[in-house]
Amino acid sequence: MQPSAPFRDREFNGTTLLEEWAELRSGGETPLSVASAVLSLRQARAPSRSPAPDPKSRLSQWVAGARAGSPALATLVARWIPRVRSELDTEALLAHLERLALVGELVDGGRRA
């Protein structure tokens, strides 16, 4: 079993990720806020914590709750939701967001170095 095609794309965690980080940074997000969102999403993803029946609905619920505090990140996650087909896709998306936080921290450090 593999994630769906969009989550296997060669640039999903490459240039796409860098473009997304630039978008998040200009939207006021920080690596720390993205990392905190990843923890929050992992909590929301647990079926026992959410009445939503499928991963897509659980992600949508998280987006609805995050729009006020993290609009840029909520917009990014919302953009990916239509492409989520399975739990594997959800896991790939969460891993992608985790990389976003880590790369954001390293890239910003590198820009200042």
Binding site: G14, L17, L32, A35, L39, Q43, L102, G109, A113
Partner: protein
Amino acid sequence: MSERSRTEPDVPLRRPSELHQELLARARAAGHGPAALGAFAEALGGLDEPAAYEAVMLRPGVAAALDVEARLAAELDPYTSWRLNLGQAPDTDALGLPTRGSVRPRVVVGTEEDREVSITGGRRLASRDLGDSPAPSRSHAVGRALAEGPLSPSGRHVGPGAAGVLGVRHRRLSCGPDCDAARLVSLLVTALSSGLPVAAQLSGAGGSYRAVFLQARPAGRGHALQLHVPSTGETAWVNAQDVRDGAALPVAGGRLVALSELLLPERREGT
């Protein structure tokens, strides 16, 4: 008079900086009222950047007493984390904040796992705590290693950053002239394959550049690595073997050949 000036006090910072402004902006975004923002700004004004940042980073003992949701909320709201660090209830504007200069919360920065390692001929010659570095302070040393801290607007790294929140620690691996580059690249590929990006220092005739390896993919009998150089904005795929062999890399005009340092990420157990 603008709407904002009617409802919110001027920010009485003695030493306004991007960090102070960022902290106030976050507190404002969290919905605190004028009284809280005014008191927060006044207290911040008496602190230099490192002290201000440390004061709003949740202390480990405080964070441990919160449930996940409360901790996440506090981490995104410096006013709330400030109050929690002081043992005060969050979101209660009527309580008095400390006056300027009176608060110096202590934050443990870095971990015992943060170490600097030199690799020569495949043997570990030196492994030392980054805190032993001759830098002015432990937090500064850890920060320069990008090991544990988020970046303040001034470029300092203090407190647990995104990596720390996600349970990732870093080791600095230095590679000297007789370095076992094969081992270094092997460690690099292993980290990338587990989903962890790796910061590196590349050097050559073009000088020294900080780079970030984004990902690794199997290619032929080896791996292709994707490399990003923040200062030039370049992103390129390179062969892991070229990195190991010191071939010219297709960034910075092809003048970078040596992998002189890695900040190797590792997941802490249980994360």
